[in-house]
Structures are given as structure tokens and as C-alpha cells.
Symmetry: C2
């Protein structure tokens, strides 16, 4: 295993040290492994909190800042953060208007965020949660009952974050977040497995001439083990699978093609060209596009495609200013 | 070789198709492989053009837009663009105030930009060039007489781009670009080799327990082949090598830790924590930091560190609005 780390056990702590050093505007609670806006938390604003296992960066800590999250809780790599961490984050950024938890659908995350919500409510902090379960690849999975939550999470964080920044109340922010969650679909493909620092070898075997269609962001099995094929054919399968699941015609779409961590940007753009052509053939209008690493799986090669059926309000919120380490515009 | 591509020969063309689809605000000249601001070119502004071999994305096409480049010329992977491409870019974005070429010090790039400048001057377009040769690892290299040009190029594009956007004339923009180039230093480390699509296997052999200290962005040999070691030790060697070459004390520093394409963000942040601590120990104040993939080498695992000795004017220009596909703030 070749990694730029000091020791497998210290990767997360060391990365938080780096986040604090690189971004002095963020507050890092090292004991609780929470990255938050710190002094920039706005009184009277609904606070947005997300979190999950580490290894998917920039999700979630890279999305803490104006127009997006107030705090992110970092679990160990591919491991849910604990209710205590989530409660600490809640206490740190609750600003009198309630808190929205943005939860990816993995059993540990779901249970721990539920417990944190109970603890916070017991302290008088109103909490609502939105669950993201957008991965069309499979029903149920290694750590999930129902569908896995993947790329749509980024879009929920951006769009609900904008609504909160505008002053929407907790119910309104929840409604927007739910609308994004319900109208987003994703599917991914792995060309290689990720290697966890604590394991030291690839999590699963993927022969040199095969790919995993519908892979999860922790390397969970997808739909099929397929022969390696041209980007256009992979794009066709991702697009077809997503469109078979949900009607994306007749409304503008926000498209995100995220690398999984080990795929160069030139390949992502090559792939996106095929995705865009296929969507156009199917009569779908992409109103906004993101191409890059947004939700990753350590050093896994591959990508995931996310489509969101948008409307004027969602597009307006999408275009609203955002200023975080990993997503920034219009400020 | 596992890549998200259609065919080795079409990677660049396919990626340009994706750039055009994802970023409708950019103009893509497919015949000349030039990405430019298109209709957004501002009359009376000094135009900034860079370019080089592909495979280092987001450099350069990801840096085309307000506050940075006016055009980027894309060569084949790891191959210089031609004078014809550079001339086409020059004709596309020249706006009456002259053109600055930002050239990384590789022999092909240098010769071709020189020839393009002559062709442009013959058409009555004033051209100046700034050469970036900031890699402290080695003197002369596989494709370079003198030092290789690497990460400081990103900082030249940002800071000189801000000066041009403010209305500085060609001589003033050249002076700023030269100041950045002369005050920036870089060094990189490879954990793995990149694999070129056209070659289909790693460009060089790097055993499982070894790293290449001082590697070039095309996989050129560095200073030493060293045993794999902790991030803190690698950081120490990069920082020490850069500080031994140039005096960074007594002025604020802009630091960029760029991934080389195959290294996850969590590792880059872990590494940056060590870099920041070492700089602090050496009495150096980091005023601004960038951590992420900015100048890459396809799927190479590893990173490069760039330090720029800044002053108030350079920091002010650094903070000026920028809006490109890969670097964006304050707009």
C-alpha cells in the first residue's frame, strides 16, 4: 500500500489538522472530529449538519461554509460518526432556528443521526432530518436497507444550504431538501477498488479487464461485473439505468459527474462528453453541470453520475452564492 | 490499463467535447484545441494565454475565465501544442492591449511559444512571455534545459490574470507575472507512475516500497529514489529542499499543495498538516493555502508543494475575484 500518510490510525486526525491549517476560517473540533463554520455561524439561521464515514472527501467537510453546511461530522474511514459527534456539532452550530440533518442512507448513519436528534431535542434544539437514498443500482446493500445515499447528497447540501442562507425556516428548508432528495438519482462505476489505510490492500478484487457497474462508495457490489468497455458504453449504461428509474424529461436537469478519487480530470471530461450527448439524444436539457471530484471513495478509479430534476426555484438556489473549501461561486 | 476513455487516440478530443458541454460559457475551438473565454473576452484588456501538453488538468483549460486566463492551448498528452494552435488562441482573444504567454519551461513549449509570438507580432499583435522554471528538484531534465516549470504556473495565471482584469497594461502584467515566477518554488514526489493512454502501462517502474523524490510532472526522474516513508518525512524533505533554494522568511507565503491526480484529498490534507507545521517551525507565515488537484500528472499518486513569497500587492491580486471551472472565488 502506497499512501501519503503517517500511519493508518492517524489519517483522519492528521487530515483534520491539515484542514484547520489550510482553512483558518473554519473551526475544527479535534476531540469530536467536527468541522464547522465556527464564528461565522449566523444567528437565527437554520443550521445544516451532515457527516458520515471519511474517505469520500470533499464530502462533507469540503462543503462547510457560506451557502452550504454549518458543520460536518467525520467518522473513521468508511465508518459512521457517533451520536456524540453529531450532538457536539449540533451544539456548536445551532443558532436558534433549528437544525437539519442531511443523512446518507447507511444503517449506521441513520441510527446515529436518529439518536443524536433525540439527544438534541432533549436539550430543546428542534431537529429535522432528510434521508438521501438516490443510488438506482441496487435495493439494499452491504450496509444499507433500501437504496444507498450517494451523489444527490452534494446537491441537497448546496440547495438546502442556499435556502437556509436566505432565511427559510426549518420546515421550508426541510421541504426543499426533501424535494432535492426525491428528484435526484445516481449510479456509479468502479474501474478499481479503493484501498483502506487500515487494510492495506484493495477491498475487493477486480480483474484487469473488468469493471463493477453500480458500485457503492464503499466498494459495495453493484449490479454486474462487466468487461472493461469504452467510456461511451459505460455512460450509456449509467444514463439508461438512471432514466429507467425516474422521469427526467420536461424539466431542466442539474448533472454532476463525480470522480471517485483515482480518476484524472481529463477522463472525467471525456466521459461527460458522452453523458451530455446521450442526455441530449433522450431529450433531456442539462441546465447546470459539475465535473470533478465531489463524492469519492479514497483512491478508487471510476465515477458516478447524478441527475437532479430541477425547477426554477431549485436552479435559483443552485446559483446562489456558495463559499466552501470545495465548492465556491458567486460570493 | 483501465481508463474511462473511448480510445487512446481520442482522449483529448473527447475531453474537449466534455468541456464544451459542461461549460457553455467557454468557447472551444476543436480544430485548434483551444479553450477560451469566447464572447466574454474583454476589449482593451491584456490577454493571457497558456498551454502545454494535456494530462495536467485542471491546468490549463480549467483556469480559463474571469480573473485568470483568456485562452488555453491543449497539446496531446504530455506533448507541446503547436505554434499554429497558439497563434489561433492569440487571434481569438487578442483584444487590443497585447498578449502575455505563460510558458512552462519545457523545450517544446518554449520553442513553440517563441514561434507563435513571432507569427503574432508579424500580424501586429504585441506579445510578451513569462517563463516558469520553479522546480528545485533538478537542473535540466528529460525535456528541459534549466529547471522544469510546475506549480508556480498556477499562481502566475491567477495573479497576473487579476492584474490584467484590473486594467494593467502589458508591461505591468508582465512585471507582475515575472515577480510571481521569480518568487515561486516547487518540488514534487511520486508514489506511483502515471499511465499514458497511448502507452498502456506505467511510464516508469517504481517498486511497491519506493518513491521518487523530485519527480517531474511527466514522470521525469527526480533527485532520489527513496524508501516509502511517513508523510511527515516526505513533507520535511519537500519543505527543506524548497527552503534551501530560496529565502521565504520575512514575507507572507502562498502555499499550494497539489495532488498529482491519483491521490485522495484526505491524504493531501494529512500531508498539508505536516507541511504547515514545518513551515511554522521554520518561521514562515502561510497567508493563503490551496489544497487539491491543480497541476496533475494523469493518474500519478503523489503531490507537489509550491511556495510563493508574496507581498501585499500579490496577496491583493490573489484575493481578487476569479471564476473558472477549477478555481473560483469572490465573483
Amino acid at each position: 500500500m502506497k499512501k501519503l500518510i503517517n500511519a493508518p490510525a492517524s489519517v483522519l486526525a492528521d487530515a483534520l489538522t491539515g484542514v484547520a491549517a489550510a482553512h483558518p476560517d473554519l473551526a475544527v473540533d479535534f476531540a469530536n472530529r467536527v468541522v464547522s463554520r465556527g464564528a461565522a455561524v449566523k444567528q437565527g439561521k437554520v443550521a445544516l449538519i451532515s457527516g458520515g464515514g471519511s474517505g469520500h472527501e470533499p464530502l462533507h467537510s469540503g462543503f462547510v461554509g457560506l451557502g452550504m453546511l454549518d458543520a460536518a461530522c467525520a467518522g473513521e474511514i468508511f465508518t459512521s460518526p457517533t451520536p456524540d459527534q453529531m450532538l457536539a456539532a449540533t451544539q456548536a452550530v445551532s443558532a436558534g432556528a433549528g437544525v437539519l440533518y442531511i443523512v446518507k442512507n447507511y444503517t449506521g448513519d441513520v441510527l446515529n443521526f436518529e439518536m443524536a436528534a433525540e439527544l438534541a431535542e432533549a436539550e430543546g434544539i428542534p431537529v429535522k432530518s432528510v434521508l438521501v437514498a438516490d443510488d438506482v443500482a441496487v435495493e439494499d446493500s452491504t450496509w444499507t436497507a433500501g437504496r444507498r445515499g450517494v451523489g444527490t447528497t452534494v446537491l441537497v447540501e448546496k440547495i438546502a444550504g442556499a435556502a437556509a442562507e436566505e432565511g427559510a425556516d426549518l420546515d421550508a428548508v426541510l421541504a426543499i431538501a426533501t424535494r432535492v432528495s426525491e428528484n435526484g438519482r445516481s449510479m456509479g462505476v468502479a474501474l478499481t477498488s479503493a484501498t483502506l489505510p487500515s487494510v492495506g490492500k484493495p477491498s475487493f478484487d477486480l480483474p484487469e479487464d473488468e469493471i463493477e457497474m453500480g458500485v457503492g462508495i464503499h466498494g459495495e457490489p453493484g449490479r454486474t461485473r462487466a468487461p472493461l468497455k469504452p467510456a461511451a458504453d459505460i455512460a450509456d449504461e449509467l444514463v439508461s439505468s438512471i432514466l429507467a428509474d425516474f422521469d427526467f424529461t420536461g424539466a431542466p436537469v442539474i448533472a454532476m459527474l463525480s470522480g471517485l478519487g483515482g480518476t484524472p480530470l481529463i477522463e472525467l471530461y471525456a466521459m461527460y462528453g458522452d453523458v451530455a450527448a446521450l442526455l441530449e439524444q433522450r431529450g433531456i436539457t442539462v441546465a447546470r453541470a459539475l465535473v470533478g471530484d465531489y463524492i469519492t471513495s479514497l483512491d478508487m478509479a471510476g465515477c458516478s453520475l447524478t441527475l437532479l430534476r430541477a425547477d426554477e426555484e431549485l436552479l435559483r438556489l443552485w446559483d446562489a452564492p456558495v463559499s466552501t473549501a470545495a465548492l465556491r461561486w458567486g460570493v
